[in-house]
Subunit: 700 residues, 2 copies
């Protein structure tokens, strides 16, 4: 894969060539030629067997053709690689491979795809597909797909890993009046991936919102780093399918790829600033709101209604969301009291009551939108004899523009809403029957508002002893160990994560020396990769006095040898006694996700992780803010903050331990998994009491 992909040029060609164009009915090469008939610029055909195709000039190959900016390849799979090489030799920078029969079929197809990538790399080609439905860009009328529908113009740009989903969406969107700027069917993503399209659209002034249907992300870390720059200015709404265990299985059998874990996607998308939609309805609800409405200044919603019941439903929807009901300023209350009848409710939700004519609605909306405590609003109306929805929609669009705050509507009803819905839609205001959907749209704005307010920090680079850490890992690798335990505590030391004083020793004398340097009694433990449940065989001694350390050493070794004569014994750990009751046991762990790489996990120990699954996950490396968020995420966080008379833990110490572990696992891809359990959080420290890790020596 090259690093200089630029997907932007794909959508603005001056001349498009269809390689494999034909006039044969039912052929894909014919469908694409037909769809290109509305293209404003040049179209040529490439097919050695013809002189022209449906009136377009036809060339035997791209080398003989005039310069082409985009080649759409629909030849049989066996000759695709040659066709793309020809394109490269002819200087074509952008290629879409429609043809299927590549990695999605395995075997020969996968080999073919590798060849295709190599050729694209050689010639620096921005290649979409293979196995793509094609591309679409409405400003120039470009429809280089073989789908049955064209798109309406608009400012949403849409990428999809499912071509079928694009055909379904286009047919539906045309009916709904939803338009698009560009559409890309990603196909197998052999070269260009979701990240490339996001970057291209971030630079496109005509793209207001990026939409994605994704079944996976190729390189999670790259996605996070690139997408977070995009989403600071351009909202991206994504449905990731295969969210659930059942769905992930289905996705895996559909695309043949191993899915990353849902926890990784959840964390990665959040870190990337992507607005995640759970389903198709949310995808478009959110996209329309982000396209048409200004950003709110706050998350405080005003509801203005002529019907109490639906007003309560809207308030429930606010309660379900991250939004709050606005508390009006006194002036607003006074103004409403002065202008509304006595039966009206002048507090939020404002009920102008059923006999409200258009003027009363106008006054109420205008008054409420002028309130500085109001960030956004929902106007809700049941049908009455005195309200004309089209007239009301004109009032709403004018007041929305006047106050420049996001407004959504529920003008409830059937046919009578149609004209009003059009008027509102033209002004970017979505109208729904269900108040919950309208509030959901405002909620999406709140998510994006938070994303745009982020100040992404670089991960802190702590001063660590990387060489010492490498030595520990290499020593382990040299002795053939892949699973390490307490003998690797020095790895944490090297990265500045506090551990109790102590060492692993291999003689009674050494044990005594270590114990002498430790104040008070010590804990002693067998260190052996072969003995998992050390306590069960008496392999742990607590409260050993310095004088008894040598005898305890011999005793522990004897027990271990008796228990399992062939066990590898790395020594005995002699460690400072730590009072675990003086703090809260937490767990800090890492595993590697196939897509996102090192995934940090933090949670409270024992039942909190194992039974209640109350954990927080982030893709490493993490910044200080992201590490702190991992504490905030936990339902059990109050237990670290002094709940129930506990001593509050030192959150800064925990946050630092998370960041230091993040640095360690980022520096050493050889660490496949690592668990610090427990990380004891006290009022002034976060100390690792035990560690287990798995390493891959080949990555050292």
């Amino acid at each position: 894969m090259t690093t200089q992909e630029d997907a932007g040029g794909l959508f603005t060609p001056d001349r498009v060539a269809v390689v494999g164009a034909t006039d044969r009915d039912g052929a894909i090469g014919r469908a694409i030629i037909d769809n290109l008939s509305d293209f404003d610029n040049d179209v040529i055909a490439v097919n050695p067997g013809r002189d022209d195709v449906l009136g377009y000039p036809c060339y035997p190959d791209l080398g003989d053709a005039p310069p082409v900016d985009l080649a759409v390849v629909v030849v049989p799979p066996q000759i695709v690689v040659d066709a793309v090489r020809d394109a490269g030799q002819a200087g074509v920078e952008n290629v879409v491979v429609i043809t299927a029969g590549f990695s999605e079929t395995g075997g020969d197809g996968a080999d073919r795809e590798r060849d295709l990538v190599a050729v694209a790399d050689d010639y620096d080609i921005n290649l979409v597909g293979p196995n793509s439905l094609g591309l679409l860009s409405t400003p120039t009328g470009l429809n280089a797909t073989f789908g049955p529908s064209n798109a309406l113009p608009g400012n949403l740009s849409f990428m999809s890993q499912s071509g079928a989903f694009i055909t379904a969406v286009l047919d539906w969107a045309n009916d709904q009046g939803i338009g698009f700027k560009d559409i890309a069917s990603l196909g197998n993503k052999a070269v260009l991936s979701e990240t490339d399209f996001m970057q291209a659209w971030a630079d496109d002034p005509d793209t207001n919102v990026i939409l994605g249907y994704l079944e996976g992300v190729d390189d999670g870390r790259e996605f996070i780093d690139d997408a977070r720059e995009v989403t600071q200015d351009t909202p991206a709404v994504v449905v990731k399918s295969g969210r659930t265990e059942a769905g992930a299985q289905a996705a895996s059998s559909h695309t043949g790829t191993i899915a990353g874990s849902e926890a990784a996607y959840e964390a990665g998308f959040k870190q990337a600033g992507v607005v995640r939609a759970e389903n198709v309805q949310e995808l478009f609800d959110f996209a329309r709101a982000l396209d048409g409405l200004p950003m709110p200044d706050s998350e405080d919603v005003a509801v203005i209604t002529n019907a109490g019941g639906p007003g309560v439903m809207a308030t429930d929807a606010v309660g379900d969301s991250r939004l709050s009901m606005a508390s009006f300023e006194d002036d607003t209350i006074d103004a409403l009291q002065g202008s509304m009848p006595d039966e009206a409710n002048v507090y939020n939700p404002v009920d102008v009551i059923g006999d409200a004519e258009i003027d009363r609605f106008r006054t109420a909306i205008d008054t409420v939108l002028a309130d500085e405590h109001v960030g956004c609003a929902l106007v809700l109306s049941a049908p009455t004899a005195v309200i004309d929805y089209t007239e009301l929609s004109g009032v709403i669009t004018a007041l929305q523009e006047k106050h420049n705050k996001p407004v959504v509507t529920c003008l409830m009803g059937g046919e009578r809403t149609e004209q009003a819905t059009d008027v509102l839609g033209d002004a970017g205001i979505p109208n729904y029957f269900d108040p919950a959907r309208a509030i959901g749209s405002l909620d999406a704005l709140a998510v994006q508002r938070e994303v745009e307010s982020r100040d992404y920090q670089a991960p802190t680079a702590f001063d660590v002893d990387r060489d010492a850490a490498r030595d520990i890992l290499e020593d382990a690798a040299d002795r053939g160990a892949t699973r390490l335990g307490v003998e690797a505590m020095d790895l944490l030391d090297a990265y500045g994560i506090p551990t109790p004083t102590g060492d692993v020793v291999d003689s009674p004398d050494a044990a005594r020396r270590v114990a002498r340097d430790i104040e008070g009694d010590v804990v002693m433990k067998i260190v052996s990769p072969d003995i998992l449940h050390k306590s069960d065989i008496g392999g742990v001694k607590v409260g050993v006095e310095t004088d008894a350390v040598a005898d305890a050493y011999e005793d522990l070794i004897t027990r271990a040898t008796n228990y399992q004569p062939d066990a590898t014994i790395l020594g005995i750990q002699v460690q400072e006694m730590v009072d675990v009751d003086a703090g809260t046991e937490t767990i800090l762990g890492m595993n590697r996700d196939p897509q996102f790489g090192p995934l940090l996990l933090f949670g409270l120990g024992g039942i909190f992780v194992e039974i209640l699954e109350d954990t927080s996950v982030r893709v490493a490396p993490v910044s200080e803010r992201e590490a702190g968020d991992m504490i905030d995420d936990l339902d059990s966080a109050p237990l670290l903050r002094g709940a129930r008379g506990r001593d509050p833990a030192d959150e800064a110490a925990i946050t630092e331990a998370i960041q230091r572990l993040s640095q360690l696992v980022t520096d050493f891809p050889a660490i496949l998994e690592l668990d610090v359990n427990p990380l004891l959080a006290t009022g002034d420290s976060a100390t690792a009491l035990d560690v287990q890790l798995t390493i891959d020596p080949d990555e050292l």
Copy 2:
């Protein structure tokens, strides 16, 4: 309120009178007369000032009119009570009061409503309203509302506490082709409430599904008891607004009633077998599925699709629901392998792939629906050149009928789906663009399936000492105590909830006597309603030997007196030592909800209740099954079941303690709140170690 309401007669009158009918434009009395023009049976007007109204015969009062089965009252509020009395005297059994200005306005209005209820009671009138939009029943063309729309015929019966919501729904439903059997606007529910309508519709063979928009339930216990009989045969889908804290506040200011807690509604609706919808979209999605589709035999879904991506989305939706993806029988796999191309996926979700024509779809659907492991199915299609949706919908409806299993569809697209959606809709099959909504419909069937499978048990009547309990409460009342502590442990004893051996004593000698009967050392505690934190002042002694008991008594009394000279000291509790580490501390509590009455709460103690809010709630009295469900509900239930090497608790003992407390609080409405904290759950018992309660002596 009478107990013999029968709302059924409201919808089948032979003659309707409009009391307050007029031909004045814009008057509500005119709107109702206009809406009654399609009524199949007789309409008369009642108005002393006219001879006829718009061609209907008009009478000065109901006494002079021919017999009337339903009177619709729209006279001014001041004369409504007289008009209803006239109706009662004339033998009219059913009355709808449209007029507003009753309890919803407070003050005089509330008085008027009390008079209205009294009159309805005197004459045994089934009264709807006041403040109602009216009634509607499509079989006879009855539209006794002042709303702007009529309803299409159908088999949904709909009650709503918001008249405006009915007007909004009707306008929208007509557009969607959704029909109704009966509609009732409940208004202030002065006489007839949601329960009466549910019972009437349960007896109505033309009502397939009951829909409700409710802002509250009048009598929660009655609702549970009556609704659970209804929902065994007739599904009821309800949106309860005011679910959230914000929504409850809005509902309270809208209706003037104090809302019951959401926890009570959640528990009560579940116990009543009501299918709860979160929003308007779910209300109608669920209702349509329950109306049109047969009940599934299992919760195993098959997905048949021609598009992999949307198939994965559907699978995600299954993962989000209580449904599972069906595992096909071997014969099904073989049959699919024999009939599908190699590229097809013959496992669930079945992908017939994009070039599937109608026959391949038919074969796949037929094969899959024949599988005994398949309870229900989703057929999903993206638009392709070879599939005609109308043809496909014919295939689906025929196969649905053949196999009699519920089938939902996502024929994705816009205009091209319209005709197919009609064909499917006529067969009761909902078609959605979003797979999540289609699967949500099947999920609603699964909820109703569980409800219909319930075998409601009566609460167990344990053999308890009710008189002893009454004595304890009366003694407390006599000494003016409303808050009781450990001195009330005998209350639990009386109801058979195990407590440690011991007693509250008022002399050193008595203390010694009690201690002598207890094996081993004892715990001694000050018993005083005025001293809350007994441990903090040294008011608790643990491990007191029998010989030391008398001295300890004196010491505790001295401490208490020194700490708070004016404290009421009820004595000293002398109790068997209980090893709390030998079990799990749980909390069993009760408070009273304004609508639902006694609400039981169960959860694990400490952080589980206070920080993680992991509790389960039921309306008392509970059956054995309901009590057992309270354990199942908890996220932390594994901790009672041997997780992490614990001894499993005796669940039967916990279940029995819950039921016995249920019986106690049901027997004594004087107990306003009660907390057993902790209830120590061990391997062979559930023992109450402490209790606190609040009583209302007036209820004794």
